[in-house]
């Protein structure tokens, strides 16, 4: 399938596939087209019209990126969130980790939020990036970029093989099968064949062939900028894929696979494409992760990592790109903070019944996750939008609905929670 890049082409083909989910399915008819391309709503005439929201959003995004780029040069303190001022390596390391996790959550969003594929094997490709690059740098005397290219090649082949087998089933069986494949990868790494993976110990990064500006604690800020660049690039690619023709078909498949097949399109190939793109992106993130951590650890390929990504996406709100980013950042910081809290004296002094649960970050995160699934179905972004909507309603219905644009905006806000819930239902 081709993916049109020019706006007009995207829009006209997009309009076609947008008809698919909406044509007969009641309830989803209204929500579906908007949530597949919230920034690219088309007017009846078919031309894209940048709404006020898009412009404000883009400007805010740009300002945010500029601030993040400048962060290593500033002396800001966020007590309780960051371990020190923003220019210190410790804080930059944590921030870079947040960016990478947010980017990884975005690639998972591409699977779950766009194509409705609940994969439990995403860590396999992240781990393939981490371990692939580490092993190649360890054993071959080639510079960083060719090594990354070689790793990428391996990941592309791997993703095609695993994807084409596991996509033969869908829904829950798909989840189980991807989990099994990822587990096989994790077992191989643990077995340490011929001492290539380092087993439980992991593999430390050989820095001989790396460019100097990426090595050492002094250069953490270069790694931070690299992580930021990766996050921005992944966000752009995910947005592009999502609003491309393939992205629309994938969303349509999520809504109603049979209908797509009746229309003569091939759901299998589209799903495979999304699967491979998402795997390739996450493997690149894995490679940067390797540089940042200066070593490969078995956790990078374990099922725990996939589960962490899933938790991030659900915390942020399924079906929302910003949700994935926010979820990734929120989870990473919370995890780090809770670990610090667990080792603090205040917790140590508590009686056993409080101390044991509070000294386990995963217990708190797991409980929080259950509560979010039970009570905040749209995740953080969905809840924020619902609160904003409620505030708008209190201010007066007439004021909020002055023009058509704001009505559509209102509907999108309203749809977020519902949308998340529907995506979850439909991927079953």
């Amino acid at each position: 399938m081709t993916t049109d890049t020019d706006a007009a082409g995207t829009n006209s083909t997009g309009a076609n596939s947008q008809d698919i989910p909406g044509a007969g399915a009641s309830g989803t008819a209204d929500g579906a087209p908007r949530r597949t391309a919230p920034d690219q709503r088309s007017t009846p005439s078919g031309k894209p019209r940048p709404t006020r929201r898009t412009i404000v959003g883009a400007a805010a995004g740009l300002a945010g990126i500029v601030l993040l780029v400048l962060l290593p040069l500033l002396n800001l303190s966020l007590p309780g969130v960051l371990p020190g001022p923003t220019y210190t390596p410790g804080s930059l390391q944590l921030l870079a980790m947040c960016m990478l996790m947010a980017a990884a959550a975005l690639t998972y969003h591409l699977l779950l939020g766009v194509a409705g594929l609940l994969s439990f094997g995403h860590a396999l490709y992240f781990g393939a990036g981490v371990y692939g690059l580490a092993i190649i740098l360890q054993n071959l005397d080639i510079p960083l970029l060719p090594a990354m290219g070689l790793t990428l090649l391996v990941v592309i082949v791997l993703a095609h093989v695993v994807g084409s087998i596991s996509l033969r089933v869908s829904g829950i069986p798909f989840a189980m099968v991807t989990l099994a494949f990822a587990q096989a990868g994790s077992v191989i790494v643990g077995r340490n064949p011929d001492g290539t993976t380092g087993g439980d110990e992991g593999l430390s990064l050989r820095t001989e062939n790396l460019p100097d500006f990426l090595v050492g604690v002094v250069n953490t800020r270069n790694l931070y900028w690299l992580a930021l660049a990766v996050l921005v690039a992944v966000f752009i690619v995910v947005t592009w894929v999502q609003s491309s023709r393939a992205g629309h078909v994938a969303a349509a498949v999520r809504e109603n696979e049979l209908r797509v097949r009746v229309l003569g399109l091939q759901p299998y190939l589209v799903k495979l494409l999304i699967f491979v793109v998402s795997a390739v992106l996450v493997s690149i993130i894995g490679m940067v992760f390797l540089l940042l951590q200066s070593g490969a650890v078995p956790r990078a390929i374990s099922a725990d990592l996939t589960i962490t990504l899933l938790v991030m996406v659900v915390l942020g709100g399924v079906g929302s790109r910003w949700g994935a980013v926010i979820g990734g950042v929120f989870y990473t910081i919370l995890d780090q903070r809770l670990t610090t809290l667990a080792n603090s004296d205040a917790i140590d002094a508590l009686p056993d019944i409080l101390r044991i649960p509070l000294s386990e970050p995963l217990f708190i995160l797991g409980t929080l996750f259950i509560l979010v699934v039970l009570f905040l179905p749209g995740g953080l972004t969905g809840t924020a939008q619902r609160l904003a909507r409620r505030r708008n309603r209190l201010r007066g219905a007439g004021e909020a609905r002055t023009g058509e644009g704001s009505t559509a905006h209102d509907r999108t806000g309203h749809d977020r929670t519902e949308a998340s819930r529907e995506i979850l239902e439909e991927s079953a």
Partner: protein
Amino acid sequence: MSTVVLLLFTGLGLGALYFLVAAGLSLIYGLMGVLNFAHGAFLTLGAFAGWEVARRTGSDDWGIFLLSLLVGAAAGAAFAAFTEFVLIRRLYQRHIEQLLITLGLSLAAVALFDGIWGTDPVFIQGPAWFKDTTEILGARVPNDRFVCIIAAVLVLLAMVFFLKNTRYGMIIRAGVENRSMVTALGIDVRKAFTLVFTIGGAAAGLGGVLASHYFGYVSPMLGGSLLIFAFIVTVIGGLGSLTGAAIAAVAVAVLQQFANFYLGGTGDFVVVLALALVLLFRPSGLLGRTS
């Protein structure tokens, strides 16, 4: 010959453990469509409960062993019933959200076990007979294998009897086939849901105590590692099929043992390969309904 027999019995013992986990998983999935990630936590809780019984009584005779089996099964059942009643019940028919809940629960539960019992494996003492071996066709087979096999066979027979010959068993079987029809006949399927979860939890708890004797230790990670293979077993056997789970459990475990011995420790890899082959040629599993 003796190696083959030994591998066979070791495989059967491991298969018995897989079956005890997979049986519950498969029934729960078949009836309710829930992929239960917390099943490993039921198993781990059962294993720790059984170990606590042995530790507190400080004896290792047969009576205590049977008591620890009972307590382990009861702990698993109680945890499972709690899960179904408090968490799953709120989200009926929303399968992915149910899955997410069980996922969160398994994270939280394993972390809690870590906090209570520590992350290191706890080594376990059973009746002295477990340490002995019995000679079969020249192979010296450790006795704990037989205990696992017998327990799993008894559980299988009990489950089959229950499903075939009791009213609730009939409702469960009917529910697996066609849930909406059962509901339309005016039968409250929700009771069957709780029941299936409880039975599955009991089997997992029992499996936990047996697994702790089979492996010789208990650790909070015990359930998670068995759960993955149980997933593979349920997919290969066909989701929702108890007999399929039994056959697949034995096949997977025996295959794994033989590959580990003859193909240089590639057991786990061969199992995943078998899964891939089954999916390529029979996507619904060995005894699964073709859809």
